[in-house]
């Protein structure tokens, strides 16, 4: 019986043959944390050890509230910088780098065949490049810092067979929302999700990152694309270390297989207040919005900003809407400057924010007042996530966000293309 990518990656780390359902103890390749490192440091101190076990494996990216929004956050950042210096942690990225889930791929940490854990629920993003990557808790992160070990249950795998091609105005975000809408937010609870099938190879690395990121909203432990030539090419010049890629065997055992035809897909939106409350954009078109957010770790890459710029070029943001743009990283920021996309967005009247999480988790920069409606390209629309409890969040693609920015009402992007 063949093995899935997840079984192979975890088995190689564990040094034995493993199959879904087993628990392995492994030494991860990288352990991610962000602004929550301040809380993790407190847990770490309870353990009574002075030094972290493997400083080179720890990756800390300040991204959640950058620059610090108030004194408390400033103090957290300060204590993290001090810890990083005292422990000699080399992989530290300060407030001018970007969102962790963009930074780890870009800076060559997210590599095929690696095991990466992170104290953030969207850690599965790195599966876009064929890594096994899963979210863990803060206590576990502290213990992993101390021991360089973590236990993981080898998940069963759900395969999603993609065929066909995205139509006009449709992208990876629409696909992820459609899947979650059709099958529920627990569709892949505890499972690995493999995005495969004849269309998978055509997905850009950015689109793969969007899907792997959204696999967290399917309940998945990890989500991935098999590393192919496209992934390997993207990693050229970025990879920090040698790696050897692994992929599922043709006769691997899947817990279930879902077939999806991209040709039939139309723009989708998740309506308040759950990610699986999904409707076609056309069905909710006309709903007035107060704010549009383009960016975040889900959809803040160059291709996303360019999709928005393509619609906003030569147009103005509707006067009743505030449009916030957050490039996912400074590298994306610079690329979008060079490509001209940022100039288009600024000319249209968008507010460009520092690369970070900001309003996505309701921490600062553009929160919502009671009764306000936001259409966002992020990944969660839970009640109160971006500000007041009585505000509403719709999730959609960058193209839908840009079309909505122009009209001030939820708008199907196909009207503009």
């Amino acid at each position: 019986m063949g093995k899935t990518l997840t079984e192979k990656v975890l088995g190689r780390k564990a040094g034995r043959d493993v199959q879904a359902g087993e628990v392995v103890t492994v030494s991860p390749d990288y352990v991610l944390s962000h602004d929550n490192s301040a809380a993790i440091i407190k847990e770490f101190q309870k353990l009574g050890v002075r030094k972290v076990r493997a400083p080179g494996k720890i990756v800390i990216v300040l991204d959640h509230i950058v620059p610090a929004a108030d004194e408390k956050y400033a103090q957290n950042h300060k204590s993290i910088r001090e810890f990083v210096a005292a422990q000699g942690i080399p992989n530290f990225f300060d407030i001018n780098t970007g969102i962790c889930h963009q930074v780890l791929p870009e800076q060559g940490f997210a590599l095929p065949g690696l095991v990466i854990v992170g104290s953030d629920s969207h850690t599965p993003s790195y599966g876009a490049l064929g890594a096994f990557a899963a979210g863990i808790g803060r206590t576990e992160t502290a213990c992993t810092w101390a021991t360089d070990e973590i236990w993981l249950r080898v998940p069963e795998t759900m395969r999603i067979d993609l065929s066909g091609r995205f139509g006009r105005g449709v992208s990876a975000k629409d696909l992820s929302l459609k899947l979650i809408g059709d099958h529920g937010a627990e569709m892949a609870n505890y499972k690995a999700v493999e995005f495969a099938g004849p269309a998978a190879g055509g997905f850009s690395v950015g689109a793969r990152l969007t899907l792997a990121n959204m696999s967290a909203e399917m309940g998945a432990k990890n989500g991935y694309f098999a590393p192919d030539d496209k992934a390997l090419k993207w990693l050229e010049g970025r990879a920090r270390q040698p790696f050897s890629a692994l992929a599922s065997d043709p006769d691997a055992r899947y817990e279930s297989v879902l077939a999806v035809d991209l040709d039939a897909l139309v723009p989708q939106a998740a309506c308040p207040h759950t990610v699986d409350n999904v409707k076609p954009v056309a069905a909710i078109a006309g709903k007035p919005v107060n704010q549009v957010l383009i960016g975040t770790c889900t959809n803040g890459r160059l291709e996303d900003l360019e999709a928005a710029a393509a619609i906003l070029k030569g147009r103005r943001v509707h006067p009743s809407v505030r449009v916030l743009v957050i490039p996912a990283s400074w590298q994306v920021y610079r690329e979008a400057l060079a490509s001209g996309a940022l100039a288009v967005l600024v000319e249209a009247g968008c507010v460009i924010l520092n690369s970070g999480c900001g309003p996505c988790l309701g921490a600062h920069e553009g929160l919502l007042a009671a009764g306000e409606v936001c259409l966002s390209t992020s990944n969660r629309n839970f009640r109160g996530r971006m500000g007041n409890r009585d505000s509403e969040i719709y999730l959609a693609s960058p193209a839908t966000a840009a079309a909505t920015a122009v009209t001030g009402r939820i708008t199907d992007p196909r009207e503009f293309s």
């Binding site: 087993e22 353990l47 808790g137 206590t139 576990e140 021991t147 236990w151 249950r153 609870n189 309940g219």
Partner: protein, 170 residues
């Protein structure tokens, strides 16, 4: 290995019925948490549960919120293991990291009923009862260690102390 009695429930036993949301922001001792265990699923549970008892349930046990109390309250109530067809991911990790054994066995979940006497052998990966012996993937030594230590923080502390003593001896 120890003996206990089965408490049987169905699919999707969620964290709200295991440990109601109305208590989540109150600071409670383990004993107080135990008194509310499974309150909204089975109001009689907390009064009659005995140390060593086992919960047997269907699919997706522990779905819902990430509250750690939903695992802590069962452990405090004396439950030695939860056997289910499947667990919600966060619940599974929380349970083990808090020292509660969570075991997956379709067969045991189908066959066992409330009141059955069972013996759970974590190391061998077996649940023994008059209805037969059911196998589950044995938990590896490290996870058994976490459960035996009473949770991840305690386990890690002990492990680190042991490592330190080793170095001291050298």
């Amino acid at each position: 290995m120890s003996h206990g009695k089965v408490w049987k429930y169905g699919d999707n036993v969620n964290t709200d019925v295991i440990f109601p949301g109305r208590y989540t922001y109150q600071i409670m001792t383990p004993e107080e948490m135990a008194r509310h265990a499974l309150e909204d699923q089975d109001p009689g549970f907390a009064k009659s549960v005995q140390p060593g008892d086992v919960i047997v349930a269907g699919k997706n046990f522990g779905c819902g919120s990430s509250r750690e109390q939903a695992a802590a309250c069962l452990k405090a109530a004396g439950i030695q293991a939860v056997v289910a067809k499947s667990f919600a991911r966060i619940y599974f990790r929380n349970a083990i990291n808090l020292g509660l054994a969570v075991l997956q066995s379709e067969e045991a979940a189908d066959r066992l009923e409330t009141g059955d006497a069972v013996e759970v052998d974590l190391a061998r990966g077996e649940i023994r009862s008059a209805k037969g012996t059911f196998r589950f993937h044995p938990l590896p030594e490290s996870v058994l260690g976490i459960i035996a230590a009473g949770g991840l923080i305690e386990y890690t502390k002990t492990k680190l102390d042991a490592a330190e003593n080793e170095t001291a001896k050298e």
